[in-house]
Every structure is written in structure tokens, then in C-alpha cells.
Amino acid sequence: MPAGMLGIEELDRAEIEAILARAKHFQPIQDQSLKKLDTLRGKMIVNLFFEASTRTRTSFEIAAKRLGADAISIAASGSSVSKGESLVDTLNTLAAMRPNAIVMRHSASGAPHFLARHLAMPIINAGDGTHEHPTQALLDARTILDRRPTLEGLRVAIIGDIAHSRVARSNVYLLSKFGAEIVLCGPASLLPPQLAQMAPGVTLTNDIREALLGTDVIMMLRVQLERQHEAAFPTAEYFQFYGLRLEHLALAKPDAIVMHPGPINRGRELSSEVADSQRSVILNQVENGVAVRMAVLERVIG
């Protein structure tokens, strides 16, 4: 079975450390005027996005190109998928063209895992349904480690629609492997109690103030209204009870950072003041996305 990257759950600490170290090595390249390496020259990467995405798709594409690989991106709309071809047939067709890896985003949890069982081709998960988004967790870790010496002992609050968040799951796995303390926070309808069993060091609360108390890192999640099968929470009340506002920051550690996987909904998950504040590292996350994905592509294909 070719090694792709399907999730953080199955990675061990050493593998994650290696990727993060390699990403750090790639960081300065982003600031050079000549940005292109030839590590993956002659390699071909297909970005297959069955779900709309701007930042992740672009980020993977740039990462591939900076490593010298050829990258093509296919959006599901306008492709054979929208003409009724099955997922397996689409992937088999692409695999027959012999790319070196397929980067895949899909709205169905487990879609890349299902394909990995039937396809002799490395698959990199760029987000599957409400399951995992491994490169997001890696770039989040890179972003934190740019500001903190270690993840161990850090208190990280993840706030929002945890139930439907692949970002939350991948971050929980990653942070827990490094001994961080993770507080998951949201209304009970978006915070299933079983989350507490996912990994060591996870606690749950429905109270945003409790979640923020003494925290080092605040991760706000996008409110994914499109993922909810029914109204699990009155939308109008969301910002009032779970939106992050400036006054909340006083509860956290003085040097606490605010993160968000984007795209942000100003006034829904967090106020504009918070998004634009000195505490926000949201754009650093985007920047690190390229370096981390370079490290992942290199590991999978190189």
C-alpha cells in the first residue's frame, strides 16, 4: 500500500516532528524572490477537489510548484464527477494517467480512506467531510511552534462547531500526541460527550469563559451551517454565546494567540476587532500552509 497521508490519528510523534521541522526549513523560501526548488522535479500531483476550497487548493498547488513538481487542479463541478461518474471510476481514470500523488478534498468522511483501499496510489487527504484535515493541524502546530518552544503543557481552547469539524479532530489528535491540554467548547448540540474519549488531555465545556481561562491558544472554528442536518443551535444566538470578542481575551494568558482555519465569518465566530488584532495569527497560518504542504508532499512523494 503506497503511503499517502490520510489523517493525524495514525501518525506518530516522530513523523509529525519531522514534517514540522522540514516545514520550518521551507519557511524562509517563501520570502526569497526565487522561490522554486527542484526536489520534486518531473513529479506530477493532481489536486482533486470535490468540495469548494480556495486556500487549501491554492496552497497545495503552490507547494507543489515550489518543489518543482507539476500540479494540476480539478474541481468536481465541470468534471466527469458532475456527469454521474462514480468516485472510484474517477480516481481509477486519474490513476491511469500515473500522477505521483492525488491530493483530495471530499465532503464525505472517509472518502480518501475508502479509495486508498482500492487504489495503488498515494492519497493525501486535504479534508474529508467531518473527519480529518491533517495538513491544517500540521500548519496550526507549525504556527504555534513559531511562537512557543513546545506544545507540551500548552492549554489550547478549540471553540465552535466541534461536532462537524475536521479541523478540530485533526488538531485534537496532534495536540494530544504532544501533551497539550485541550479544551473543546461549544453548545451541547455541537459538542458530543464522546469527544472527551478521543485522546488524552481533552476536556469539554459549554461555557466559552471557562474555555478561555488561562489559555495559550484560542482556535475558533468556522460555523459550518452547511454541515448541519438541522438547526442544532439558533444561529442568531451563536455570536452572543460562542463568538470571540475583544473582552474575552482578558481571560486568556496575556500572550495568547487567536487562530482560525478560515475563511472567517466576521461577526459570527469572532468579531472584526479580534480578527484584526495583534493576537490574531490567522494570516501566519495561511502562510505556513505552503511550507507545511511542501513538507508533506516531499515526505509522500520525495
Binding site: 462514480s86 468516485l87 480512506h113 475508502f114 467531510g129 467531518t130 442536518h229 438541522e230
Partner: protein, 425 residues
């Protein structure tokens, strides 16, 4: 006169409390004698070292015909049943058209008479097109041969309609079988709601979606006096409620599937649709309760909920795949493995769960080796080692989570109305 003598077997017939070494003589399609038969017979089947039991009845099977013959037909489904040791199967009405009138019922019976290796007893729909609104032609379906009514897979959500259905069914002495699922609670769900669904990021089907419907139906059965049967029971609360209803003397029965007593949600291969069914594989606690129900007697029958789907439908994103697995050929092996070899129940109790249990629920004159009864006989081994290869299945479909599973014990020969319809190679 066609004669068949089954020699030297260990006869287990729960209906007559027989559990002893004996011969079984079949004549003209009926049981002629059970005991030491010395007279020579035209044909002899040596059952030394094997169990000879009344023909097994599977009261919950989807044969897909008419309408979905690409998944299964009456002929292929019945052959798979015979290879699983079943001599009688009950076909659920969710075909196309739905079996909601006597014409469809007669069609199924006629096709089965011509093509099926086993007896086929159709189950009629509760409501027209199983849409949950208007009652179907229950009386004339009963006259045409249905043995129960059910809107399996599309449970009647309107309690008032269910109440009327129970009253009507009672007038015709038909049991009402419900696939107990509150469709609002389970909407969008793909697997049991619990730690595993949270971990895998799959939408959950809460145990309560089954529990509230079991509770509703038991209360309605009490109101109406109808015979009510819970299909594929899978939760601990549903099990407790059925046990309580029985204790109070209500005519409530239930069945359990082999997969619900042998697999838990944590044992499923992630995102493998051969583990996707309704009700879903539940938690270990629920599975344990189902086994306890089988041990205590709260469970009346083992039924497979054999649900064939072609590979093209099961080879998709998990959330897109249809619910259901095939189960006719693996039922006995799983029951032996999880219930008998573990010492939880006796062989006689196992046989009862496949014979007298379902026969009593459906008032069938089958499931017994009494003299004069139709000669439906299942011969099986408790020790035979065999491995299930789903690609060799008689079913048209391949959706089984037990492909490659090594079994200890399983069917050896199946006799329907005096004729050997299947024998292990």
C-alpha cells in the same frame, strides 16, 4: 413413493422436546417417522455426527423481486437460503411495486413456486406503497398468503396510522412487524451514534431512534391487542422494554440478527460499507443486551435481514452507500460461534430460535419434525471447519462483512418438502 431416510443423526426437535440419536423417515414430502427406522428406504442420507433439525425459518429476508432483480431474485435468494440451511424464508414487501396488494402477493408466491428452492412466505406492506399514510389491502393479502405485515425500511411514522394498522391486522390475526426507527432522530445518520461515529466523523443513528419506536409500538399493541413483533432488535433499552412487555403477558415478540449479536460498532472496518446497515452495529453494551435477550428467552427468533445490494452501490463514499448486508449463508455459523460455542445457549435453544420461534410468531405449520408435518429438515454440523467466500455465494450480491471468516460448524444439507435442495460439497 419417494422416500428418504436420514440415518444416525442427532435429532433436535424443540417442538416435541426431542434431543436424541434417531433416524428420520420422509415419505411423499412429509415426516413419516422419527426414531429407530429399520425398514429399508429408497434413498438414505447418512447423518452420523450431524444434527438433524426441523427446517430453519428466516422471517426477515429481502428478495428484491419484483423490481430490483439486479440485486437478487426469488430464485437466487432462495438458493442462498438453502445453502444457509433455511427451508422457509419470509420476503419483505419493499419491492417495486411494493407488495401492498394481493396481485403482488400472488405474483411472488407463483414465482417462488416455480423457481425457489425453499418455501417463500411473503410479508405484506402495512400501508400503500409503504408511504405510511393509507392502509394497504391487508385482508386480501392475507387471503392471498401473506403471513405478516410490515413497512420494513420505511417505518410508519404516524402513530395513528400504526394504531389503525394494528387494529386491522388483529381482525385478520396477522402479526405487525415494525422496523423500529424514528426517522427524524436517525435522519442523515450512517452508523451508530457513539464514540466511533464521533471519531470517524460520520453522522450518528442514536439508539434512542429505535427505543422510542419500540416504546410507541408496545403501547399501541397494548391498546389494540395486536400481535406486535420488533424486527432486528439492537439496543439495550429496546431489549429491556420487550422483556418487560412479555413479563406483563403482552403478545410482543422480537427477532435478532446474527450481525447484531456478533459485531459491535468498534469492530467495523472504517468506511467499509459492508458494515453499514440499519439498525447499525451498536455498542458492545447493546450487543451484550441482545445476547442476554437470546439467553433469557426475550428474543424469539434469529432472522438475517438479508439485504442484497450490488457492488456498484456498495462501492461508494460511505454516506452514499445503501444500508444492509447479505446474511443467509453465514447465519448458522455465526449463531454457533457466538451463542453455542461460547456456552451461552444450548443447541436445542439455538434450533428453537431458527424454527419454533419464528413459526410461533407467524403461526406457520413449520419448524417441527412431528409426524405428518411437511418434511423441511436442516442437517448441520457443529464442528465442520469452513471459510466463507462471498464470491462463491448463491446470492446475486456480495455485500457481506464476513467474507473470509473461518467458521466452526454450519449447514450440511437442506431438505424442503422432502427433497434435498442443497448439500455441502
Amino acid at each position: 413413493m419417494p422416500q428418504l431416510l436420514i440415518k444416525n443423526g442427532h435429532v433436535i426437535d424443540p417442538a416435541s422436546a426431542t434431543d436424541t440419536q434417531a433416524d428420520v423417515l420422509i415419505q411423499d414430502g412429509y415426516i413419516a417417522a422419527v426414531g429407530a427406522v429399520r425398514a429399508p428406504a429408497a434413498e438414505v442420507l447418512d447423518a452420523s455426527g450431524l444434527i438433524v433439525a426441523p427446517g430453519f425459518i428466516d422471517m426477515h429476508v429481502h428478495l428484491r423481486e419484483p423490481g430490483f432483480e439486479h440485486a437478487e431474485t426469488i430464485e437466487t435468494g432462495a438458493r442462498a437460503a438453502a445453502a444457509g440451511g433455511f427451508t422457509s424464508i419470509c420476503s419483505m414487501p419493499n419491492t417495486l411495486p411494493v407488495n401492498d396488494n394481493a396481485t403482488v402477493t400472488s405474483y411472488i408466491i407463483e414465482r417462488a413456486r416455480k423457481l425457489a428452492a425453499t418455501n417463500v412466505f411473503p410479508i405484506g406492506a402495512i400501508t400503500k406503497n409503504s408511504a405510511g399514510e393509507e392502509l394497504s389491502a391487508i385482508g386480501s393479502m392475507k387471503a392471498a398468503g401473506v403471513v405478516a405485515i410490515s413497512d420494513d425500511g420505511r417505518p410508519v411514522m404516524n402513530a395513528r396510522v400504526m394504531r389503525r394498522a394494528m387494529e386491522f391486522a388483529r381482525s385478520f390475526d396477522l402479526p405487525v412487524i415494525d422496523h423500529c426507527e424514528d426517522l427524524h432522530l436517525s435522519a442523515g445518520g450512517d452508523m451508530h451514534e457513539g464514540y466511533e461515529s464521533v471519531r470517524l466523523g460520520l453522522h450518528g443513528i442514536p439508539a434512542s431512534s429505535e427505543d422510542v419506536m419500540v416504546a410507541r409500538d408496545i403501547l399501541l399493541a397494548e391498546t389494540t391487542g395486536a400481535r406486535f413483533h420488533v424486527a432486528h432488535i439492537s439496543t439495550r433499552n429496546a431489549m429491556a422494554m420487550v422483556a418487560y412487555a412479555k413479563q406483563r403477558g403482552l403478545p410482543i415478540t422480537c427477532e435478532a440478527t446474527p450481525h447484531h449479536f456478533s459485531l459491535t460498532d468498534s469492530q467495523m472496518v472504517p468506511y467499509d460499507s459492508n458494515f453499514k446497515m440499519k439498525p447499525p452495529l451498536r455498542s458492545a453494551c447493546d450487543t451484550g443486551a441482545v445476547v442476554e435477550g437470546i439467553v433469557s428467552g426475550a428474543v424469539d427468533a434469529i432472522a438475517t435481514d438479508h439485504a442484497p445490494h450490488p457492488g456498484s452501490e456498495k462501492m461508494q463514499e460511505f454516506e452514499k452507500c445503501p444500508f444492509g448486508i447479505i446474511g443467509l449463508e453465514t447465519a448458522l455459523g455465526l449463531a454457533l460461534e457466538h451463542l453455542v460455542h461460547t456456552g451461552k445457549i444450548t443447541l436445542a435453544r439455538l434450533v428453537a430460535l431458527f424454527t419454533t420461534g419464528p413459526a410461533r410468531v407467524l403461526h406457520l405449520d413449520r419448524g417441527t419434525l412431528a409426524e405428518g408435518a411437511p418434511a423441511d429438515v436442516t442437517i448441520f454440523s457443529t464442528d465442520l471447519r469452513w471459510t466463507y467466500d462471498v464470491n462463491q455465494s448463491f446470492s446475486k450480491s456480495r455485500n457481506s462483512p464476513f467474507d473470509g471468516h473461518a467458521f466452526r460448524g454450519g449447514p450440511v444439507a437442506t431438505i424442503v418438502n422432502g427433497a434435498v435442495v442443497w448439500q455441502r460439497e
